[in-house]
């Protein structure tokens, strides 16, 4: 397996969905190819970093507006239920 072929299979390998036979080939290649090993490692770290990040808080005035708009809409909908 060449580095180019590795690249095409990278998603499936990282997500653990690669065909087992190809997976073994992938790992054999990596064992002898340090750059590919590091790229796979970097990709995993990249995904992990985004997954571990915390979502942003809503600005407080916007959060208040959002919830009052929802309460208002809820009241209208309760007064005129669909169907």
């Amino acid at each position: 397996m060449k580095c180019e072929e590795m690249l095409a299979l990278l998603n499936e390998y990282v997500d653990g969905t690669v065909d087992p036979a190809l997976c073994a080939e992938f790992e054999r290649h990596m064992a002898g190819c340090n750059p590919c090993q590091v790229v796979v490692d970097n990709i995993r770290q990249t995904i992990r970093l985004y997954q571990d990040g915390q979502p942003y808080d809503l600005p407080a005035p916007f959060r208040d507006r959002l919830h009052s708009a929802l309460r208002e809409r809820w009241k209208q909908q309760s007064a005129n239920p669909p169907g």
Partner: protein, 212 residues
């Protein structure tokens, strides 16, 4: 229901209560997901006022269509789909593409070029667990995301950040699964490149004799 009661309930239970007319249950669902929806939308539209508008539209739409939520997907996935649709409308308007269909706007240019080859290859100086606690990391992550084309950023956000499956991501963006996979790979490679230039250890940079 009081706050303590609602925070302990599952999404499904809250949805049942909300459908039965309990506003507090609906608000508890909103409180549970508002930060995630707002962050997703802000990263798609990259403009505060638009992000607020889209977030509000998303939850109003969820309120109006709660009866139609079929629980084939999780409630979160359903919300992210609504939010993505609303955010895409903004992107299309900005590009003056509001007259063309959703499918055309998202699938206009299938990726047929070769994949970008990794250039800066190095182990990172710190682990993601250490990096995530550093204040500047967040800014660098947002900058790297902003460098991506809309089509690549959208796929990465839904699949890798929000955890939708390839199939769900494809459905949310009206793309084929094959196209989602190609875009995801490009997004991951591009983000890896950008972040490794920031976080990579220059002293441990790896050079390959052949093209990677």
């Amino acid at each position: 229901m009081n706050d303590d009661a609602t925070t302990e309930l599952s999404d499904d239970a809250l949805i049942r209560h909300a459908r039965a007319g309990d506003l507090e249950a609906f608000e508890a669902l909103v409180a549970r997901y508002e930060r995630q929806v707002y962050t997703l939308v802000l990263r798609i539209v990259r403009q505060e006022q638009d992000a607020q508008d889209v977030t509000q539209q998303t939850f109003i739409s969820a309120l109006e269509h709660l009866g139609g939520f079929r629980q084939e997907a999780t409630f979160a996935t359903w919300l992210f789909r609504i939010a993505t649709h609303a955010a895409l409308k903004i992107l299309r308007k900005r590009k003056g593409l509001n007259t063309i269909s959703f499918e055309e706007a998202t699938e206009a240019q299938p990726d047929r070029d070769g994949l970008p080859h990794p250039e800066f290859i190095a182990d990172w100086k710190q682990s993601p667990a250490e990096l995530v606690t550093r204040h500047e990391t967040q800014r660098l992550l947002e900058e790297a995301l902003a460098q991506l084309d809309d089509k690549h950023r959208l796929v990465f956000l839904l699949r890798d950040v929000e955890g939708l499956s390839v199939k769900e991501t494809a459905a949310a963006l009206a793309l084929s699964e094959a196209n989602v996979k190609v875009r995801l790979l490009r997004a991951r490679l591009q983000l890896r490149e950008g972040l490794t230039r920031q976080f990579g250890d220059e002293a441990r940079r790896v050079f390959s004799g052949h093209q990677h």
